[in-house]
Subunit: 358 residues, 4 copies
């Protein structure tokens, strides 16, 4: 047994099997994957990594299991490994490569971590654990950890969740992780925290612009998935810095020095796909890497589906909580898409774009 | 004017000149110099950088100046820049290269930051500000920020200092930064915090061992000061990973995967210099990079010299506070020197060493 | 100048005039008026008083004025005195006596505090200051302090507000206290905090029941306003304990020992006024002080009216924030009225009531 | 099972037997005994009571037992009840009445709480549990709770203790509660916290003066122990307010309005007992209740005796920690005795005293 000190949860206990998983190079690599990607350009203190978050998720999964001992033990190790597949700068490159969950499924079958895992669990078991509601559900250990942790490191005052009350009121019943009535307010606080963190931190335009610049550099550099899947942030940034392509070097230097592109378009109005494709083509042809289109998917809001046990009956959280319903209706409020351009071509891009989308 | 969000101080205001200094590549590089070097191998959450710490020190210097408006303005910019010269992983490489203060004095005369600074301050003025008691004194803005910040990020419960009371009770008088009587308890809390942080965090053996391994790799790689002085952690680690020397690659891989050398000697007994030199030579000859000697300087404890104004008279803090005197007497208690070896040669090293130092 | 230590705001500075106001018996009495009345029966740690809250409100009003120096100084002293008129256990007795604001207006014209105030401000000036938006507006210093303070003392994780960002973004313009666009998220966090604190703390049924019991005891004791207006909690409870009426002594003993009445009705369905009056009469006639009706007013939600400056235009917060609109729609969600009865007559009351309201 | 929300420990679980003990009038009375007596006159926010502290001590005792399941269960209920015997304003009146531990031993044999306790434990068992090292030892649950709680409520930054690490490293072995080596730093932090809280909070002169005034009033009123032992703060203050003796009413009014006596003597030099007695007599004869002598016992420092298990051997904490040794040597540093007088006779008292003690 080993203790890890953590400012969020105090001390995290790692049993021997967890220690062996953590001690693999694959898991240690998470120390060099920042949790919030380039958000540190907006919140300088947000330097925490997927490593601490993974330990925290493991800890919370164990806490949930403490109140629900009938849960299979493999679930807590799935919680530990759920983010193993993240690429450098977390979600930043997920527009270019397969989603990190897919990469994770590849990684846990290979290398040292594959060997350690294989001693206890078969592939199919592990895949099942990774989809378990405790790890990847509407209200799960992952979300609980990252909301509180991201708030602590950014200093944003919005990620406060009464985790203890929430966890005490989660019950594993009929194959579902169900919220008891006494936990509804704590559950709401999780959703509210998320609703506040989105506009303040996760959708912060500075991180979005820098992320689009980095993604462009990676795209131009053309790094194959086979290489990317094991890269950490040091590998990636060093590679871009010594790229043979001038555009790539320019982009990474600009990100490094926080000389970011400027917003030409920042809009809440969705664009039709055809027009978006045309825009991409035309802007690419005219300005190359000096202009970037950033059109993110709309946020999901699965927590509304969480089950609540009210008076012996299973209901949806959104059915019993008008606040949750309204948060769901608001979920797109802060969604924006943008066009960003290097400062010196900003005006030229503006004219060009207005010719295309009026 | 620009606001930066910070979990320690809330919002940090940057005036236009500060923004221009911060926006130089030289200052942005600090985002990639971790505050506590390799301490994150012991405290995973200690991922904060010299960048946030520099902003925090600037903020506290401004606060001190708010209560002492006669202080020259240049002092606050010196506070901002005081750590500009740190090498990758902060103090880890200071055994090989000149101290970071020296590197900083070189850096502020060159590049973009040299140009921006030169618009307002001459070299000699800036050098004077950098030695000012607010920046580099017994109780200064630097120490105040790092103790509280390091405690927040490690989660160690020991860096709590009543900064507000401390700052309200500092007075600039007769060319000295003097503590008023009402601030003595807060001043003591700063010293106590430091006394607790040393054994818990700053002298943690895990960080010490990893630091010795990294320093050995850098030494073997033979990177000249001219290159090192501008490197960030990405440059350095990437360089070591693709070194032509197998030993260098082995060392950095071991640090990356946290496969650390083991302690063969861990002692509070000082060694005579001759014997130390001999040990170094013999171990180097016999085991090469597989064994490392780590013999750090003893910690200083200048805060005891801080001046206190008691009943109209200037006294030394150590003269009015028995607690401070006793802390001073204890300052070496946690000092240790060590010999570390790769696990597979640990026993061989142990026999070899016992032959030499009994 | 005097400094008061406060866990919420650090140090609160009191200027000489504030010190003189605070040093009057009228203000010192607030030390013996708990901020949340009988909520400590549900949250044992909620023992903070109107005294600290008044100092905190004064502090925040000064902060608002720091960013808006054109505000009249009298406003900050009005913030200090705004709660002077509270009766023992804060809002608990406001169903029996005039609202505390009215009592405050009487108090500041009498006694020592009347004399001190009169040296600087006329009555009409002070009355104007007390209605000033900084003291008593949609987003005011009072609310900011109590939400954060109540959360700290109850330990409820829901009262977290980014006060610094909020205050930095309040501007006094055209006779209005207006929120700048950058402060909208912080403003929302204030409203969310309030929305979460209502069901969790302010409407907690335990405090409601105990409050109804205390109000009944006071009503039976028949204490005239002239006496009540200067009473503190010691005066009141001691008076009830030695009442000549057995019912009064029974009620206060039950509150003291937390032997509370039980809920017979706890309903979100409003009742027609006639029926309510009839219920009161009939239950009173049948059960006397053993049954209580608690029919509180519905909560207001004035913050939605706060003005926001968006793109140079003044708008209502509820017009620019769908989240605020939805909170407004939800404002009654947690409102309940209740009938409470002593445990031994609970079933008899239940039958009796069901005969009346079906 | 019942959950109580607490800002220090999160949620405190009360089992059924604990609930029955808490629900007695004797335990509920603790809600009206402030933890720090009159310290709220110096730290307005320090309004917490022996009730919360008792629940917190119970919680920590359970935590210690979680790591040492061989501890007898009765110990945790002793932790719950250890402060039952406190008089109004906690230690303030212990110069006049028997120590609170003695009163507690009387109380737990009488009334409802005596009955509930008697169902499970004999008198002698309970007396044994109350002396158990977990409840009343060198490093015990009581101290752990009050240091952290007092720091939270006063806002003093000095009571921070790593409780989790401390508790994880306490072992019940050979009839002793022993600190493991890994817990030494956390144990030191407890002692440091205490060392800082003494001068800042516990020995604050404002609370000392007010306490001496209150004790004088009680002495003059001549309340017999039989009455006092069950009084709460409401009973006591109300009784003093309506005393037939003018001096008593003057004293309590002055405390209520914070019109405190002034320091004439405030000295670290002990006085011989004869001289002290003479002073008392003479001052009493000359000035009556207008002058007060406050000569407190010197603080003990039993924690230094705590046992530590180092390398398999039991040692004293003070033997292994030079910091603890030095704290022990400093323990009297902040001790002061004082003579206080009403402002209008202050100078007369000064002359009179200087005639007696030079």
């Amino acid at each position: 047994m080993k203790l890890v000190h953590d400012p969020i949860h105090g001390h995290i206990e790692l049993d021997d099997f967890a220690v062996r998983l953590v001690d693999t190079p694959e898991f240690q690599r998470l120390r060099r994957i920042t949790q919030l990607g380039l958000a540190f350009l907006a919140y300088p203190s947000a330097r925490h990594t997927r490593f601490e978050h993974s330990l925290g998720t493991f800890h919370l999964a164990k806490e949930i299991r403490r109140y629900n001992p009938e849960l299979e033990e493999g679930v807590i190790y799935a919680a530990l490994l759920h983010d193993l597949g993240h690429y450098p700068f977390s979600h930043t490159l997920e527009g270019i490569y397969p989603k990190h969950e897919e990469n994770m499924r590849w990684l846990i079958r290979h290398g040292e971590i594959g060997e350690v895992l294989g001693e206890r669990y078969s592939r199919s078991e592990m895949e099942r654990f990774l989809k378990h509601p405790v790890v990847s559900g509407d209200i799960d250990a992952d979300r609980m950890d990252y909301l509180v942790r991201d708030a602590y490191y950014t200093g944003a005052a919005y990620g406060i969740v009464d985790l203890e009350r929430l966890i005490r009121n989660l019950r594993w019943t009929e194959g579902k992780l169900v919220l008891l009535e006494k936990g509804i307010t704590a559950g709401q606080s999780l959703l509210l925290a998320r609703a506040m963190m989105y506009p303040t931190v996760y959708f912060h335009h500075t991180a979005r612009i820098a992320g689009a610049m980095l993604a462009k550099a990676v795209e131009l550099e053309g790094i194959p998935l086979e290489e990317m899947r094991r890269m950490d942030e040091i590998d990636l940034v060093a590679r871009l810095r010594r790229s043979e392509r001038r555009e790539v070097r320019e982009l990474i230097t600009a990100v490094d020095s926080r000389r970011l592109y400027k917003r030409v378009v920042w809009s809440a109005e969705p664009l039709e796909e055809d027009l978006l494709d045309e825009l991409r083509r035309e802007l690419e042809a005219e300005f190359g890497h000096l202009v970037l289109i950033d059109y993110p998917p709309k946020p999901k809001f699965e927590e509304k589906n969480a089950f609540v046990l009210v008076g012996g009956e299973l209901k949806r959280l959104s059915d019993v909580s008008p606040l949750v319903r309204s948060l769901f209706e608001l979920k797109d409020t802060h969604w924006r898409w943008g066009i960003y351009a290097r400062a010196d071509v900003k005006e030229a891009v503006r004219s060009f774009v207005s010719g295309l989308i009026g």
